[in-house]
């Protein structure tokens, strides 16, 4: 499972994207958020953290699979 990163998430994780290691146990958006907070505690200081699946904001209960485009959306600041 690969996660596209943007903005401050790139700085925190230190990469443009992130591949979850084998045995990560992440099945839902909620799981992914918890996994990220666990691995990168600095994420917990952000104002918000959303996940986009196939370029749409995803609900926590959504199931994730390998063939989706998954992105981590830190607090936005456009406009």
């Amino acid at each position: 499972m690969q996660i596209i990163l943007f903005g401050i998430a790139k700085d925190i994780i230190g990469a443009q994207s992130l591949t979850l290691p084998g045995g990560h146990g992440v099945q839902t958006v909620h799981d992914l958020k918890n996994w990220l907070l666990d691995q990168y505690p600095a994420m917990g200081n952000l104002n918000s953290m959303a996940i986009a699946v196939d370029q749409e904001y995803a609900q926590d209960e959504m199931n994730l699979s390998e063939n989706q485009e998954i992105a981590l959306i830190p607090p936005i600041s456009g406009g």
């Binding site: 596209i4 943007f6 986009a52 959306i73 830190p74 936005i76 600041s77 456009g78 406009g79």
Partner: protein, 148 residues
């Protein structure tokens, strides 16, 4: 340079992400023979933030998703107001003080709808479109809104 562009077949709307906003093209995109009022919002780079001098800004976008979200906002606005022409353009990349960063334009028969739809779109864009702004100060950089 045009990064992405979507133009509805009916030419009603222009939604794009660009590296440089050309304000001189905007009026042409909004002209419509039935239009009586055009409201245009232009977001610009301010020279300070939280009391500190800003040198420049960098904008990064999740481009395909940003365009999809901009399309959704255009559709929402078109359902709420009788819009004749709609423009949503956001700049990406490095911007200096005074540069236009975002342009929202609405043409409608009467001015009330133009003002309301324009206001709606800039407020919603700031709330939903995945674009990130980094401020460069003299002593540091900061992703805007990232932390409380």
């Amino acid at each position: 340079m045009l990064l992405y562009r979507r133009l509805a077949v009916d030419k009603m709307k222009t939604i794009k992400l660009v590296s440089h906003i050309d304000l001189n093209e905007i009026y042409g995109l909004l002209q419509h023979p039935e239009a009586g009022g055009i409201d245009l919002f232009i977001g610009t780079v301010r020279n300070h933030a939280k009391g500190k001098k800003v040198l420049k800004l960098d904008f990064e976008g999740y481009e395909p998703m940003a365009l999809k979200e901009m399309e959704k906002l255009a559709d929402k606005a078109a359902k709420q107001w009788p819009i004749l022409r709609l423009v949503i353009i956001h700049a990406l990349g490095t911007k200096k003080i005074g540069d236009p960063v975002v342009v929202i334009g609405i043409a409608s028969a009467h001015r009330n709808e133009a003002f309301e739809a324009c206001r709606f779109l800039i407020d919603e864009l700031k709330a939903t479109v995945p674009i990130w702004k980094k401020e460069y100060f003299e002593d540091k950089t900061m992703w805007v809104n990232a932390h409380p």
